[in-house]
Symmetry: C2
Subunit: 315 residues, 2 copies
Protein backbone atom coordinates (compact mmCIF):
# COMPACT_ATOMS: atom_id res chain seq x y z
CA UNK A 1 0.00 0.00 0.00
CA UNK A 2 1.73 3.17 -1.18
CA UNK A 3 1.74 6.34 0.89
CA UNK A 4 -0.21 8.98 -1.02
CA UNK A 5 -0.12 12.73 -1.02
CA UNK A 6 -3.42 12.63 0.83
CA UNK A 7 -1.96 10.37 3.51
CA UNK A 8 0.69 12.98 4.26
CA UNK A 9 -1.75 15.88 4.19
CA UNK A 10 -4.05 14.00 6.54
CA UNK A 11 -1.15 13.12 8.83
CA UNK A 12 -0.23 16.78 8.97
CA UNK A 13 -3.75 17.90 9.90
CA UNK A 14 -3.96 15.07 12.45
CA UNK A 15 -0.75 15.90 14.31
CA UNK A 16 -0.78 19.70 13.94
CA UNK A 17 -2.44 20.35 17.32
CA UNK A 18 0.26 18.32 19.08
CA UNK A 19 3.47 19.48 17.41
CA UNK A 20 5.38 22.71 16.82
CA UNK A 21 5.60 24.15 13.34
CA UNK A 22 9.34 24.59 13.72
CA UNK A 23 11.36 27.58 12.57
CA UNK A 24 13.40 27.59 9.39
CA UNK A 25 16.74 29.31 10.00
CA UNK A 26 19.29 30.67 7.54
CA UNK A 27 22.91 31.72 7.98
CA UNK A 28 24.50 34.39 5.81
CA UNK A 29 27.96 33.24 6.77
CA UNK A 30 27.45 29.56 5.96
CA UNK A 31 25.82 30.57 2.66
CA UNK A 32 28.83 32.73 1.82
CA UNK A 33 31.31 30.01 2.72
CA UNK A 34 29.85 27.45 0.33
CA UNK A 35 28.05 29.55 -2.26
CA UNK A 36 24.68 27.91 -1.58
CA UNK A 37 21.43 29.11 -0.03
CA UNK A 38 20.72 26.90 2.93
CA UNK A 39 17.36 26.65 4.70
CA UNK A 40 17.61 24.71 7.94
CA UNK A 41 14.37 23.10 9.16
CA UNK A 42 14.93 23.10 12.90
CA UNK A 43 13.40 19.95 14.29
CA UNK A 44 15.75 20.34 17.23
CA UNK A 45 13.14 22.89 18.36
CA UNK A 46 10.38 20.28 17.98
CA UNK A 47 8.63 18.75 21.02
CA UNK A 48 10.89 16.10 22.60
CA UNK A 49 13.75 17.87 20.76
CA UNK A 50 13.46 15.83 17.56
CA UNK A 51 11.23 15.10 14.56
CA UNK A 52 10.22 11.67 15.92
CA UNK A 53 7.14 13.03 17.67
CA UNK A 54 5.60 13.61 14.22
CA UNK A 55 5.54 9.91 13.32
CA UNK A 56 4.80 8.82 16.85
CA UNK A 57 1.73 11.04 17.08
CA UNK A 58 0.52 10.12 13.60
CA UNK A 59 0.62 6.41 14.39
CA UNK A 60 -0.88 6.74 17.87
CA UNK A 61 -3.73 8.99 16.76
CA UNK A 62 -4.95 6.34 14.33
CA UNK A 63 -5.36 3.59 16.92
CA UNK A 64 -8.84 2.55 17.93
CA UNK A 65 -9.59 3.63 21.48
CA UNK A 66 -9.89 -0.02 22.60
CA UNK A 67 -6.27 -0.53 21.48
CA UNK A 68 -5.00 2.84 22.65
CA UNK A 69 -6.26 2.33 26.18
CA UNK A 70 -3.97 -0.69 26.62
CA UNK A 71 -1.00 1.55 26.01
CA UNK A 72 1.84 2.09 23.53
CA UNK A 73 5.08 0.13 23.46
CA UNK A 74 8.44 0.34 21.78
CA UNK A 75 12.10 -0.46 22.26
CA UNK A 76 14.51 2.38 21.73
CA UNK A 77 17.30 4.16 23.52
CA UNK A 78 16.76 7.30 21.51
CA UNK A 79 14.29 9.88 20.36
CA UNK A 80 11.57 7.42 19.33
CA UNK A 81 11.27 6.32 22.95
CA UNK A 82 10.61 9.91 23.99
CA UNK A 83 8.16 10.31 21.11
CA UNK A 84 6.09 7.32 22.17
CA UNK A 85 6.28 8.34 25.83
CA UNK A 86 4.99 11.84 25.05
CA UNK A 87 2.34 10.56 22.60
CA UNK A 88 0.99 8.28 25.35
CA UNK A 89 0.97 11.11 27.84
CA UNK A 90 -0.83 13.47 25.45
CA UNK A 91 -3.42 10.82 24.61
CA UNK A 92 -4.00 9.81 28.22
CA UNK A 93 -2.63 6.28 28.01
CA UNK A 94 0.47 4.38 29.20
CA UNK A 95 3.80 3.97 27.45
CA UNK A 96 5.98 0.88 27.95
CA UNK A 97 9.54 1.45 26.79
CA UNK A 98 12.27 -1.18 26.63
CA UNK A 99 15.71 0.41 26.91
CA UNK A 100 19.18 -1.14 27.00
CA UNK A 101 20.63 -0.96 30.50
CA UNK A 102 23.59 1.08 29.23
CA UNK A 103 21.38 3.96 28.03
CA UNK A 104 22.64 7.38 29.15
CA UNK A 105 20.88 8.67 32.26
CA UNK A 106 19.79 11.82 30.41
CA UNK A 107 17.73 9.75 27.95
CA UNK A 108 16.29 7.50 30.63
CA UNK A 109 15.25 10.55 32.64
CA UNK A 110 13.63 12.21 29.63
CA UNK A 111 11.47 9.13 29.03
CA UNK A 112 10.65 8.85 32.73
CA UNK A 113 9.77 12.55 32.71
CA UNK A 114 6.87 11.80 30.37
CA UNK A 115 5.61 9.18 32.83
CA UNK A 116 6.54 6.09 30.79
CA UNK A 117 7.24 2.69 32.36
CA UNK A 118 10.77 1.61 31.48
CA UNK A 119 11.94 -1.99 31.33
CA UNK A 120 15.69 -2.37 31.05
CA UNK A 121 17.36 -5.16 29.09
CA UNK A 122 20.82 -6.16 28.00
CA UNK A 123 22.14 -4.03 25.15
CA UNK A 124 21.61 -6.55 22.32
CA UNK A 125 18.90 -6.59 19.67
CA UNK A 126 17.88 -10.09 20.77
CA UNK A 127 17.43 -9.01 24.39
CA UNK A 128 15.48 -5.96 23.29
CA UNK A 129 13.06 -7.98 21.19
CA UNK A 130 12.60 -10.72 23.80
CA UNK A 131 11.98 -8.18 26.53
CA UNK A 132 9.62 -6.21 24.32
CA UNK A 133 7.61 -9.36 23.61
CA UNK A 134 7.26 -10.11 27.31
CA UNK A 135 6.13 -6.56 28.04
CA UNK A 136 3.53 -6.72 25.28
CA UNK A 137 2.27 -10.09 26.45
CA UNK A 138 1.87 -8.73 29.95
CA UNK A 139 0.25 -5.41 29.03
CA UNK A 140 -1.45 -5.87 25.68
CA UNK A 141 0.14 -2.58 24.59
CA UNK A 142 0.44 -1.74 20.90
CA UNK A 143 3.96 -1.95 19.50
CA UNK A 144 4.94 1.04 17.39
CA UNK A 145 7.96 0.51 15.18
CA UNK A 146 10.42 3.43 15.00
CA UNK A 147 10.47 3.65 11.20
CA UNK A 148 9.25 0.66 9.19
CA UNK A 149 5.60 1.65 9.38
CA UNK A 150 3.69 3.72 6.85
CA UNK A 151 2.01 5.82 9.56
CA UNK A 152 5.44 6.69 10.91
CA UNK A 153 6.79 7.56 7.45
CA UNK A 154 3.77 9.76 6.68
CA UNK A 155 4.25 11.55 10.01
CA UNK A 156 7.95 12.19 9.48
CA UNK A 157 7.13 13.45 5.96
CA UNK A 158 5.37 16.46 7.45
CA UNK A 159 8.65 18.18 8.39
CA UNK A 160 9.67 18.44 4.73
CA UNK A 161 6.10 19.39 3.80
CA UNK A 162 6.30 22.40 6.13
CA UNK A 163 9.72 23.33 4.80
CA UNK A 164 8.49 23.22 1.19
CA UNK A 165 5.44 25.29 2.08
CA UNK A 166 7.59 27.93 3.75
CA UNK A 167 10.55 28.16 1.37
CA UNK A 168 9.63 28.61 -2.26
CA UNK A 169 11.62 27.09 -5.13
CA UNK A 170 13.78 24.71 -3.15
CA UNK A 171 15.94 22.70 -5.54
CA UNK A 172 17.44 20.22 -3.08
CA UNK A 173 16.48 18.70 0.25
CA UNK A 174 18.88 16.61 2.28
CA UNK A 175 18.16 14.54 5.36
CA UNK A 176 20.13 12.08 7.48
CA UNK A 177 19.43 8.36 7.09
CA UNK A 178 19.26 5.81 9.89
CA UNK A 179 16.23 3.52 9.66
CA UNK A 180 14.98 5.70 6.84
CA UNK A 181 11.68 6.96 8.26
CA UNK A 182 12.66 10.61 7.97
CA UNK A 183 14.43 10.19 4.62
CA UNK A 184 11.64 8.22 2.95
CA UNK A 185 9.02 10.65 4.24
CA UNK A 186 11.10 13.60 3.10
CA UNK A 187 11.44 12.12 -0.39
CA UNK A 188 7.68 11.61 -0.65
CA UNK A 189 6.91 15.17 0.45
CA UNK A 190 9.43 16.49 -2.08
CA UNK A 191 7.70 14.52 -4.83
CA UNK A 192 4.15 15.44 -3.82
CA UNK A 193 4.52 19.03 -2.62
CA UNK A 194 7.68 20.28 -4.32
CA UNK A 195 8.49 21.36 -7.82
CA UNK A 196 11.19 19.04 -9.10
CA UNK A 197 13.13 18.94 -5.82
CA UNK A 198 16.00 16.44 -5.68
CA UNK A 199 16.39 14.59 -2.39
CA UNK A 200 19.73 13.42 -1.03
CA UNK A 201 20.85 11.78 2.18
CA UNK A 202 23.88 11.92 4.42
CA UNK A 203 25.13 8.82 6.22
CA UNK A 204 28.18 8.28 8.45
CA UNK A 205 30.96 6.10 6.98
CA UNK A 206 30.89 4.36 10.33
CA UNK A 207 27.27 3.23 9.82
CA UNK A 208 27.18 2.95 6.05
CA UNK A 209 24.42 0.43 5.56
CA UNK A 210 21.86 2.54 3.70
CA UNK A 211 24.24 3.43 0.90
CA UNK A 212 24.84 -0.32 0.34
CA UNK A 213 21.16 -1.22 0.59
CA UNK A 214 20.32 1.56 -1.84
CA UNK A 215 22.65 -0.01 -4.40
CA UNK A 216 21.82 -3.68 -3.88
CA UNK A 217 18.11 -3.34 -3.22
CA UNK A 218 18.43 -5.62 -0.18
CA UNK A 219 18.75 -4.61 3.45
CA UNK A 220 22.50 -4.66 4.10
CA UNK A 221 24.51 -4.24 7.27
CA UNK A 222 27.16 -1.57 7.70
CA UNK A 223 30.73 -2.81 7.11
CA UNK A 224 31.59 -1.45 10.53
CA UNK A 225 29.90 0.63 13.22
CA UNK A 226 31.80 3.54 14.69
CA UNK A 227 30.20 6.96 14.73
CA UNK A 228 29.15 9.73 17.08
CA UNK A 229 25.91 10.01 15.06
CA UNK A 230 24.12 7.64 17.41
CA UNK A 231 20.73 8.26 15.85
CA UNK A 232 21.83 6.70 12.55
CA UNK A 233 22.99 3.23 13.60
CA UNK A 234 19.91 1.32 12.45
CA UNK A 235 19.55 -0.49 9.14
CA UNK A 236 16.65 0.30 6.78
CA UNK A 237 13.34 -1.58 6.73
CA UNK A 238 11.66 -2.98 3.62
CA UNK A 239 9.12 -0.14 3.52
CA UNK A 240 11.68 2.66 3.85
CA UNK A 241 14.15 0.98 1.46
CA UNK A 242 11.55 0.78 -1.31
CA UNK A 243 10.58 4.42 -1.01
CA UNK A 244 14.17 5.58 -0.78
CA UNK A 245 15.30 3.63 -3.85
CA UNK A 246 12.46 5.12 -5.86
CA UNK A 247 12.72 8.75 -4.73
CA UNK A 248 16.19 9.57 -3.41
CA UNK A 249 18.87 10.70 -5.87
CA UNK A 250 21.98 9.72 -3.92
CA UNK A 251 23.27 8.85 -0.46
CA UNK A 252 26.57 10.47 0.52
CA UNK A 253 28.81 9.11 3.26
CA UNK A 254 30.88 11.36 5.51
CA UNK A 255 33.68 10.78 8.00
CA UNK A 256 33.61 11.52 11.70
CA UNK A 257 35.87 14.52 11.12
CA UNK A 258 33.47 15.88 8.54
CA UNK A 259 30.54 15.42 10.92
CA UNK A 260 32.32 17.28 13.72
CA UNK A 261 33.38 20.08 11.39
CA UNK A 262 29.78 20.60 10.22
CA UNK A 263 28.48 20.38 13.76
CA UNK A 264 31.00 23.00 14.93
CA UNK A 265 29.91 25.27 12.08
CA UNK A 266 26.27 25.02 13.12
CA UNK A 267 27.02 25.72 16.79
CA UNK A 268 29.34 28.63 16.01
CA UNK A 269 27.48 30.29 13.17
CA UNK A 270 23.84 29.41 13.76
CA UNK A 271 23.92 29.30 17.58
CA UNK A 272 21.79 26.19 17.80
CA UNK A 273 22.33 22.91 19.62
CA UNK A 274 22.09 19.91 17.31
CA UNK A 275 22.84 16.25 17.80
CA UNK A 276 25.65 14.72 15.71
CA UNK A 277 23.20 12.91 13.40
CA UNK A 278 21.82 16.32 12.39
CA UNK A 279 25.21 17.51 11.18
CA UNK A 280 25.57 14.64 8.72
CA UNK A 281 23.51 16.16 5.85
CA UNK A 282 25.34 19.49 6.01
CA UNK A 283 28.65 17.63 6.14
CA UNK A 284 27.61 15.83 2.94
CA UNK A 285 26.78 19.06 1.12
CA UNK A 286 30.04 20.67 2.24
CA UNK A 287 31.95 17.61 0.97
CA UNK A 288 30.31 17.99 -2.44
CA UNK A 289 29.96 21.76 -2.42
CA UNK A 290 30.93 22.06 -6.09
CA UNK A 291 27.89 20.04 -7.14
CA UNK A 292 25.55 22.25 -5.15
CA UNK A 293 26.90 25.74 -5.93
CA UNK A 294 24.16 28.33 -6.19
CA UNK A 295 21.42 25.90 -5.22
CA UNK A 296 18.56 26.49 -2.80
CA UNK A 297 19.01 23.66 -0.32
CA UNK A 298 16.70 22.56 2.46
CA UNK A 299 18.50 20.77 5.29
CA UNK A 300 16.50 18.78 7.82
CA UNK A 301 18.02 19.33 11.26
CA UNK A 302 16.63 16.17 12.79
CA UNK A 303 17.13 16.83 16.50
CA UNK A 304 19.05 18.43 19.34
CA UNK A 305 19.13 15.84 22.09
CA UNK A 306 22.68 15.72 23.33
CA UNK A 307 24.27 15.03 26.67
CA UNK A 308 26.14 18.29 27.31
CA UNK A 309 29.03 16.32 28.75
CA UNK A 310 29.65 14.98 25.22
CA UNK A 311 30.74 18.47 24.15
CA UNK A 312 34.17 17.82 25.59
CA UNK A 313 34.61 14.89 23.18
CA UNK A 314 33.64 16.95 20.15
CA UNK A 315 34.86 20.52 20.63
CA UNK B 1 18.90 65.30 25.99
CA UNK B 2 16.42 62.54 26.75
CA UNK B 3 15.87 59.64 24.37
CA UNK B 4 12.29 59.89 23.09
CA UNK B 5 9.87 57.33 21.76
CA UNK B 6 10.43 58.84 18.35
CA UNK B 7 14.21 58.40 18.66
CA UNK B 8 13.72 54.66 19.16
CA UNK B 9 11.16 54.36 16.36
CA UNK B 10 13.50 56.21 14.01
CA UNK B 11 16.44 54.07 15.11
CA UNK B 12 14.41 50.98 14.32
CA UNK B 13 13.47 52.18 10.84
CA UNK B 14 17.07 53.24 10.24
CA UNK B 15 18.67 49.92 11.13
CA UNK B 16 15.94 47.56 9.94
CA UNK B 17 17.53 46.93 6.51
CA UNK B 18 20.79 45.87 8.17
CA UNK B 19 19.65 43.64 11.03
CA UNK B 20 17.61 40.49 11.54
CA UNK B 21 14.24 40.69 13.19
CA UNK B 22 15.16 37.83 15.50
CA UNK B 23 12.90 34.97 16.52
CA UNK B 24 11.10 34.82 19.84
CA UNK B 25 11.27 31.28 21.25
CA UNK B 26 9.26 29.64 23.99
CA UNK B 27 9.79 26.45 25.96
CA UNK B 28 6.90 24.44 27.38
CA UNK B 29 9.20 22.60 29.72
CA UNK B 30 10.87 25.68 31.21
CA UNK B 31 7.43 27.29 31.59
CA UNK B 32 6.18 24.21 33.44
CA UNK B 33 9.22 24.07 35.71
CA UNK B 34 8.78 27.61 37.02
CA UNK B 35 5.11 28.35 36.46
CA UNK B 36 5.82 31.38 34.25
CA UNK B 37 5.33 32.13 30.56
CA UNK B 38 8.73 32.94 29.14
CA UNK B 39 9.33 34.61 25.78
CA UNK B 40 12.98 34.55 24.78
CA UNK B 41 14.08 37.26 22.35
CA UNK B 42 16.92 35.49 20.57
CA UNK B 43 19.57 38.07 19.81
CA UNK B 44 22.04 35.19 19.65
CA UNK B 45 20.54 34.76 16.16
CA UNK B 46 21.27 38.43 15.37
CA UNK B 47 24.00 39.44 12.89
CA UNK B 48 27.43 39.13 14.58
CA UNK B 49 25.68 36.79 17.06
CA UNK B 50 24.62 39.54 19.49
CA UNK B 51 22.36 42.59 19.91
CA UNK B 52 25.32 45.00 19.66
CA UNK B 53 24.93 45.46 15.91
CA UNK B 54 21.68 47.35 16.61
CA UNK B 55 23.42 50.17 18.48
CA UNK B 56 26.49 50.06 16.27
CA UNK B 57 24.43 50.50 13.10
CA UNK B 58 22.24 53.18 14.63
CA UNK B 59 25.24 55.30 15.62
CA UNK B 60 27.13 54.74 12.37
CA UNK B 61 24.17 55.51 10.13
CA UNK B 62 23.83 58.97 11.67
CA UNK B 63 27.38 60.07 10.88
CA UNK B 64 27.93 62.67 8.18
CA UNK B 65 29.58 61.11 5.15
CA UNK B 66 32.68 63.29 5.67
CA UNK B 67 33.11 61.70 9.09
CA UNK B 68 32.08 58.21 8.07
CA UNK B 69 34.63 58.05 5.28
CA UNK B 70 37.49 58.38 7.78
CA UNK B 71 36.33 55.21 9.45
CA UNK B 72 34.91 53.93 12.73
CA UNK B 73 36.94 53.16 15.82
CA UNK B 74 36.45 51.46 19.15
CA UNK B 75 38.23 49.44 21.79
CA UNK B 76 36.60 46.18 22.79
CA UNK B 77 37.44 42.54 23.09
CA UNK B 78 33.82 41.58 22.72
CA UNK B 79 30.69 41.89 20.65
CA UNK B 80 30.87 45.67 20.22
CA UNK B 81 34.11 45.23 18.27
CA UNK B 82 32.35 42.90 15.86
CA UNK B 83 29.42 45.31 15.63
CA UNK B 84 31.61 48.23 14.63
CA UNK B 85 33.62 46.06 12.24
CA UNK B 86 30.47 44.88 10.49
CA UNK B 87 28.88 48.36 10.49
CA UNK B 88 31.99 49.71 8.76
CA UNK B 89 31.92 46.91 6.21
CA UNK B 90 28.23 47.40 5.44
CA UNK B 91 28.71 51.16 5.06
CA UNK B 92 31.81 50.86 2.91
CA UNK B 93 34.30 52.38 5.31
CA UNK B 94 37.16 51.17 7.54
CA UNK B 95 37.01 49.95 11.13
CA UNK B 96 39.91 50.39 13.55
CA UNK B 97 39.60 48.15 16.58
CA UNK B 98 41.88 48.18 19.61
CA UNK B 99 41.91 44.79 21.33
CA UNK B 100 43.84 43.53 24.36
CA UNK B 101 46.60 41.15 23.27
CA UNK B 102 45.13 38.35 25.38
CA UNK B 103 41.83 38.34 23.44
CA UNK B 104 40.73 34.85 22.43
CA UNK B 105 41.67 33.97 18.84
CA UNK B 106 38.04 33.27 17.98
CA UNK B 107 37.10 36.90 18.72
CA UNK B 108 40.12 38.33 16.93
CA UNK B 109 39.31 36.23 13.87
CA UNK B 110 35.67 37.30 13.86
CA UNK B 111 36.70 40.97 13.80
CA UNK B 112 39.33 40.29 11.13
CA UNK B 113 36.70 38.43 9.13
CA UNK B 114 34.79 41.69 8.69
CA UNK B 115 37.93 43.33 7.34
CA UNK B 116 38.72 45.54 10.35
CA UNK B 117 42.22 46.73 11.20
CA UNK B 118 43.17 45.48 14.65
CA UNK B 119 45.71 47.17 16.92
CA UNK B 120 46.70 45.09 19.91
CA UNK B 121 47.53 46.58 23.31
CA UNK B 122 48.25 45.40 26.82
CA UNK B 123 45.16 44.19 28.66
CA UNK B 124 44.63 47.26 30.85
CA UNK B 125 42.07 50.03 30.49
CA UNK B 126 44.87 52.61 30.41
CA UNK B 127 46.66 50.84 27.56
CA UNK B 128 43.40 50.50 25.69
CA UNK B 129 42.60 54.19 25.93
CA UNK B 130 46.13 55.32 25.07
CA UNK B 131 46.29 53.02 22.07
CA UNK B 132 42.84 54.09 20.95
CA UNK B 133 43.86 57.73 21.10
CA UNK B 134 46.92 57.07 18.94
CA UNK B 135 44.86 55.18 16.37
CA UNK B 136 42.31 58.00 16.21
CA UNK B 137 45.03 60.63 15.87
CA UNK B 138 46.57 58.67 13.01
CA UNK B 139 43.34 57.86 11.14
CA UNK B 140 40.81 60.54 12.08
CA UNK B 141 38.29 57.74 12.63
CA UNK B 142 35.16 58.36 14.70
CA UNK B 143 35.17 56.73 18.12
CA UNK B 144 31.96 54.92 18.96
CA UNK B 145 31.46 54.12 22.62
CA UNK B 146 30.05 50.67 23.41
CA UNK B 147 27.19 51.91 25.59
CA UNK B 148 27.38 55.45 27.01
CA UNK B 149 25.96 57.09 23.89
CA UNK B 150 22.33 57.90 23.22
CA UNK B 151 22.51 56.61 19.66
CA UNK B 152 23.74 53.28 21.00
CA UNK B 153 21.05 53.12 23.69
CA UNK B 154 18.30 53.92 21.15
CA UNK B 155 19.65 51.17 18.88
CA UNK B 156 19.78 48.54 21.62
CA UNK B 157 16.23 49.55 22.62
CA UNK B 158 14.91 48.12 19.34
CA UNK B 159 15.30 44.52 20.52
CA UNK B 160 12.74 45.04 23.30
CA UNK B 161 10.56 47.08 20.92
CA UNK B 162 10.35 44.08 18.57
CA UNK B 163 9.63 41.74 21.47
CA UNK B 164 6.81 43.97 22.75
CA UNK B 165 5.34 44.23 19.25
CA UNK B 166 5.38 40.46 18.83
CA UNK B 167 4.25 39.28 22.27
CA UNK B 168 1.12 40.96 23.56
CA UNK B 169 0.54 41.73 27.23
CA UNK B 170 4.04 41.17 28.53
CA UNK B 171 4.16 41.99 32.23
CA UNK B 172 7.91 41.75 32.79
CA UNK B 173 11.07 42.12 30.71
CA UNK B 174 14.47 41.20 32.05
CA UNK B 175 17.86 41.89 30.49
CA UNK B 176 21.47 41.47 31.58
CA UNK B 177 23.41 44.54 32.70
CA UNK B 178 27.04 45.29 31.91
CA UNK B 179 27.61 48.86 30.71
CA UNK B 180 23.85 49.27 30.64
CA UNK B 181 23.24 50.05 26.97
CA UNK B 182 20.90 47.11 26.49
CA UNK B 183 19.20 47.48 29.87
CA UNK B 184 18.59 51.23 29.58
CA UNK B 185 17.28 50.84 26.02
CA UNK B 186 15.06 47.94 27.10
CA UNK B 187 13.60 50.02 29.93
CA UNK B 188 12.81 52.89 27.57
CA UNK B 189 11.09 50.62 25.05
CA UNK B 190 9.06 49.05 27.85
CA UNK B 191 7.92 52.51 28.95
CA UNK B 192 7.18 53.81 25.45
CA UNK B 193 5.80 50.75 23.67
CA UNK B 194 4.55 48.51 26.49
CA UNK B 195 1.54 48.57 28.71
CA UNK B 196 2.80 48.82 32.27
CA UNK B 197 5.70 46.41 31.79
CA UNK B 198 8.14 46.16 34.70
CA UNK B 199 11.79 45.92 33.75
CA UNK B 200 14.37 44.01 35.79
CA UNK B 201 18.02 43.18 35.30
CA UNK B 202 20.29 40.29 36.13
CA UNK B 203 23.92 40.85 37.12
CA UNK B 204 26.63 38.40 38.24
CA UNK B 205 27.68 38.59 41.89
CA UNK B 206 31.21 38.55 40.55
CA UNK B 207 30.68 41.84 38.65
CA UNK B 208 28.11 43.49 40.91
CA UNK B 209 28.72 47.13 40.15
CA UNK B 210 25.36 48.08 38.61
CA UNK B 211 23.37 46.99 41.63
CA UNK B 212 25.53 49.30 43.79
CA UNK B 213 25.38 52.21 41.34
CA UNK B 214 21.61 51.80 41.12
CA UNK B 215 21.38 52.28 44.90
CA UNK B 216 23.91 55.06 45.35
CA UNK B 217 23.25 57.01 42.16
CA UNK B 218 27.00 57.16 41.46
CA UNK B 219 29.04 54.93 39.20
CA UNK B 220 30.47 52.31 41.53
CA UNK B 221 32.98 49.54 40.96
CA UNK B 222 32.21 45.89 41.63
CA UNK B 223 33.48 44.62 44.98
CA UNK B 224 35.28 41.86 43.11
CA UNK B 225 35.46 40.58 39.53
CA UNK B 226 35.09 36.88 38.94
CA UNK B 227 32.50 35.62 36.49
CA UNK B 228 32.14 33.59 33.33
CA UNK B 229 29.70 36.26 32.08
CA UNK B 230 32.49 38.11 30.29
CA UNK B 231 30.10 40.48 28.54
CA UNK B 232 29.03 42.03 31.84
CA UNK B 233 32.32 43.20 33.37
CA UNK B 234 31.96 46.89 32.53
CA UNK B 235 30.66 49.57 34.89
CA UNK B 236 27.74 51.80 33.89
CA UNK B 237 28.10 55.21 32.25
CA UNK B 238 26.33 58.38 33.36
CA UNK B 239 23.78 58.19 30.54
CA UNK B 240 22.86 54.56 31.15
CA UNK B 241 22.84 54.96 34.95
CA UNK B 242 20.33 57.81 34.78
CA UNK B 243 17.92 55.91 32.54
CA UNK B 244 18.25 52.72 34.57
CA UNK B 245 17.57 54.43 37.90
CA UNK B 246 14.46 56.03 36.48
CA UNK B 247 12.99 53.05 34.65
CA UNK B 248 14.27 49.75 36.06
CA UNK B 249 12.44 48.18 39.01
CA UNK B 250 15.25 46.07 40.47
CA UNK B 251 18.63 44.53 39.70
CA UNK B 252 19.11 40.95 40.90
CA UNK B 253 22.52 39.38 41.41
CA UNK B 254 23.19 35.70 40.73
CA UNK B 255 26.05 33.34 41.51
CA UNK B 256 28.22 31.51 39.01
CA UNK B 257 26.43 28.26 39.86
CA UNK B 258 23.08 29.89 39.14
CA UNK B 259 24.37 31.21 35.80
CA UNK B 260 25.63 27.78 34.75
CA UNK B 261 22.39 26.10 35.83
CA UNK B 262 20.32 28.53 33.75
CA UNK B 263 22.70 28.18 30.81
CA UNK B 264 22.46 24.38 30.96
CA UNK B 265 18.68 24.63 31.00
CA UNK B 266 18.66 26.79 27.87
CA UNK B 267 21.05 24.47 26.00
CA UNK B 268 19.18 21.32 27.04
CA UNK B 269 15.59 22.48 26.74
CA UNK B 270 15.69 25.21 24.11
CA UNK B 271 18.53 23.81 21.99
CA UNK B 272 20.17 27.15 21.47
CA UNK B 273 23.74 28.30 22.02
CA UNK B 274 23.96 31.32 24.32
CA UNK B 275 26.87 33.08 25.94
CA UNK B 276 27.06 33.07 29.75
CA UNK B 277 25.95 36.72 30.00
CA UNK B 278 22.68 35.73 28.34
CA UNK B 279 21.88 33.19 31.05
CA UNK B 280 22.06 35.78 33.82
CA UNK B 281 18.50 37.17 33.45
CA UNK B 282 16.90 33.71 33.42
CA UNK B 283 19.03 32.76 36.42
CA UNK B 284 17.64 35.81 38.23
CA UNK B 285 14.03 34.89 37.48
CA UNK B 286 14.61 31.29 38.57
CA UNK B 287 16.14 32.54 41.82
CA UNK B 288 13.03 34.63 42.53
CA UNK B 289 10.51 32.35 40.84
CA UNK B 290 7.93 32.88 43.58
CA UNK B 291 7.72 36.57 42.76
CA UNK B 292 7.14 35.91 39.07
CA UNK B 293 4.66 33.00 39.21
CA UNK B 294 2.10 33.16 36.43
CA UNK B 295 3.68 36.19 34.79
CA UNK B 296 4.33 36.75 31.09
CA UNK B 297 8.05 37.42 31.04
CA UNK B 298 10.21 38.60 28.14
CA UNK B 299 13.85 37.57 28.45
CA UNK B 300 16.45 39.24 26.27
CA UNK B 301 18.96 36.61 25.15
CA UNK B 302 21.76 39.03 24.41
CA UNK B 303 24.13 36.87 22.37
CA UNK B 304 25.61 33.52 21.49
CA UNK B 305 29.28 34.16 20.91
CA UNK B 306 31.16 31.48 22.78
CA UNK B 307 34.39 29.66 22.22
CA UNK B 308 33.22 26.05 21.98
CA UNK B 309 36.25 24.94 23.95
CA UNK B 310 34.72 26.75 26.97
CA UNK B 311 31.98 24.12 27.07
CA UNK B 312 34.30 21.80 28.96
CA UNK B 313 34.55 24.35 31.77
CA UNK B 314 30.81 24.74 32.06
CA UNK B 315 29.13 21.41 31.33
Amino acid sequence: MAITKQDISEAHARIAPYIHRTHVLTSDSINEMYGCKFYFKCENFQKIGAFKIRGGMNASLQLASSILEKGLATHSSGNHAQAIALAAKLLGTRAYIVMPDNSPAVKVNAVKGYGAEITFCEPTLQAREDTMEKVIRRTGAEFIHPFNDERIVAGQATAAKELIEEVKDLEVIIAPVGGGGLLSGTSLSAKYFGNNIKVYAGEPEGAADAVLSYKSGKIESAPYIKTIADGLLTTLGDITLGIIRENVSEIFTVTEEEIIKAMRLVYERMKIVIEPSSAVPLAAIIKHADRFKGKRIGVIISGGNVDLSSFRDWF
